[in-house]
Symmetry: C2
């Protein structure tokens, strides 16, 4: 990999060779970060060359990705998700410009496909044929799907609260699924022990530094879809901390390579019922565990596995932290559906809930431009969608009964 | 529309001006078909010009579509869905080449988005702001999503058996939803009455000839993704008959314009529990109503609304009819998930179930090349996914318990 220099510990700065199966720092246990040679990248590709490419997937950014030139691109088409300017929603919220990046439109329905596609490539480079992870659901189903398409075996550990839709999806992809009676923390620990024992390729994003490199492609796409003119803010829901870390890494890479001339401020949105990272910023202290009390299961992470990169993303970008209630999340789901035609799962709508709240509270200025990332499809979690949207009117097939129902429902025609 | 000549009745041949709100034949009630000027199309675009386009949506085919040049393209990104060569699955089934077109990767998760995006454009051309339809689910949620994104109001009639995921989705998009206690036929009738009464734009695919023109874009994409070299067969699940009609229309248009030099045979796959159209072909007679007895809700249509175009697609292409059991549909869901990483709803996997059965029964020769279209995402119908895939192993977070569970599950490591 001519574009990659090394893997650097974010805590102690120790540098390691970027081998396919490198994990955490051997000295201090810190998480590693992939370091690039930006001069080399600049010598290989320019924004205009990039924009001329026909590959409508995350692999259009190969110069920015830590993969061998000889590695084959995995089969499922991940990335290059839709990017919409939402004029009516911007007007409704009273903000200059608002864009929605719909990452629910990925093969298994979430942003996590970006990391799992990367895991499949790195597992192959590492010579492994079995991949494992623990996950609240989306990382799991994305791993199961991307691995199945590539012919790999998977072992997946999920906490028992994972929504049925997500579990069904990964069972369908033929994963060996272990539903753990406990918290996400318990699930993570058991998966780590099993991965050690059997030498599986590790797709836990807080351990494997390459996965964040997959996730960062969402930012590369946002920048390109904005024609390399960045907005003031990018809002993202935060659980484990890996996704926000990846989002920030993507923008920093582009900035370092001269593809964009401005870095956005990152808005970290967490659930009121589970916001250990935002709390750390608010209190100006270290983070400490918190209860997992939110219906947004994908970000219900009381013990985040990637706090360092997440907190760094918020601090370094001079970003904002916003906590939203479950009610505000459900309202944002309705807003995205009714105004944008975008159906998000609760965690997927959490970023937008934060944008709304941030504007209302005056934390975000009215003349700002913002991208809100929708991280997962609403079809992943139908029960909460029903909670947000309500039930339809149910009637006999008769016009008089229909008229009556419209009248009762306040529908005047 | 310089590319469109007229709208022609498929039954009596009467021709009508292709106005935006044209519906069925005024003389005989037959369904209309949009007639193009292929010489004009040829003068405007060639296969190589088409393949150079950057628009990765169904609107890249504008010369083949019945829309005014001045109409604005709707916001949601519909079409240009992934197209995969499935080598391992082809090998497993014993066939020369097999491709899967995954139309579950559309904004609302099904092929119906293609028709609904078209409906939004034509409603605008017709000067309407309210659109209505009846649907077993996917047409409904696609209409709701595409209309919400464009700022239109929708009234949607669904039979009460429509899966919860689909109903939740369209409620989320802000549609007025009427759940009808009755069959699809009852639902269709009530919607037709209401559409007449209030003058809504009609998005019932069997009434509105433009919707099939939206659906046909799946075939335009397949041909282009095959580099304009068609396979021997294209397999598709069949309910109402509109989708198979659209699939065939797309290939015929391309053939007439000289973009492809061979037409594929269309494989019509229906459920054993509801196959009135395939029965008509098998018996060499007219179709007549059948019970709706299959778990594949999207194709459980006992009284198909578009029999003429469907039967014509099968006969004209010298195609095949194959009926599959619910068990075979569930098995095809597993096959697609485990071998291809594609998660399909039951009707979405029905085409592939038919391909498997057709090969096993010797109806499809071993040296054939086939495209199987997956028409909808498995996340639409989680209950049936669980039925197909089973439940995960559930354990306490403990290594010894894990070892025990693996042993019990026959997982040897």
């Amino acid at each position: 990999m001519k574009n990659v220099v090394s893997a650097v510990c974010v805590k102690c700065g120790a540098e390691y060779e970027a081998t396919p199966n490198v994990t955490t720092c051997k000295k201090c246990g810190g998480i590693l970060d992939i370091k690039y040679d930006y001069n080399y990248i600049k010598s290989q590709v320019s924004p205009s060359v990039m924009s001329d490419r026909r590959d409508n997937s995350m692999w259009r950014y190969k110069e920015f990705l830590p993969v061998e030139g000889t590695s084959k691109v995995p089969k499922l088409r991940v990335g290059w998700s839709p990017f919409y300017e939402e004029k009516r929603l911007a007007e409704q919220l009273g903000i200059a410009k608002l864009y929605v990046k719909d990452d629910g439109i990925n093969p298994t329905g979430s942003l996590k496909d970006r990391a799992s596609a990367m895991a499949v490539v790195k597992a192959e480079e590492a010579g492994r044929t079995t991949i494992a992870c623990s996950s609240t659901g989306n990382a799991a189903s994305s791993l199961a799907g991307n691995a199945a398409a590539a012919g790999y075996e998977t072992f997946i550990f999920v906490p028992e609260r994972a929504p049925k839709g997500k579990v069904a999806q990964l069972m369908m992809f033929g994963a060996h699924v272990i539903s753990v009676k406990g918290s996400y923390e318990d699930t993570f620990r058991l998966s780590a022990e099993a991965i050690d024992r059997w030498g599986w390729y590790n797709r836990n994003a807080a351990i494997n530094p390459y996965l964040m490199e997959g996730k960062k492609t969402v930012s590369l796409e946002i920048a390109e879809q904005l024609n390399w003119k960045m907005t003031d803010y990018v809002a993202i829901s935060v659980g484990d901390g890996c996704t926000i870390g990846g989002v920030w890494k993507g923008f920093k890479d582009l900035y370092a390579a001269g593809f964009i001339d401005k870095l956005p401020k990152i808005i970290s949105v967490q659930a009121e019922g589970c916001h250990p990272l935002n709390r750390a910023i608010e209190e100006g202290k270290d983070w400490y565990p918190m209860e997992e009390n939110t219906l947004a299961d994908s970000i219900a992470v009381g013990v985040p596995r990637n706090p360092d990169k997440a907190l760094n993303a918020i601090r370094e970008s001079k970003g904002l932290v916003i906590n939203v209630s479950d009610e505000e999340i459900l309202a944002a789901m309705r807003l995205l559906g009714r105004t944008c035609g975008v159906f998000a799962e609760p965690a997927g709508a959490t970023g937008t809930a934060g944008v709304k709240k941030g504007i209302e509270k005056g934390m975000i200025p009215k003349d700002a431009t913002i991208v809100s990332v929708v991280t997962g499809s609403g079809l992943k979690d139908v029960n909460n969608a029903i909670k947000a949207a309500g039930e339809p009117m149910a009637i006999e097939p008769d016009m008089d009964i229909l008229l009556e129902a419209f009248k009762k429902g306040g529908i005047l025609l």
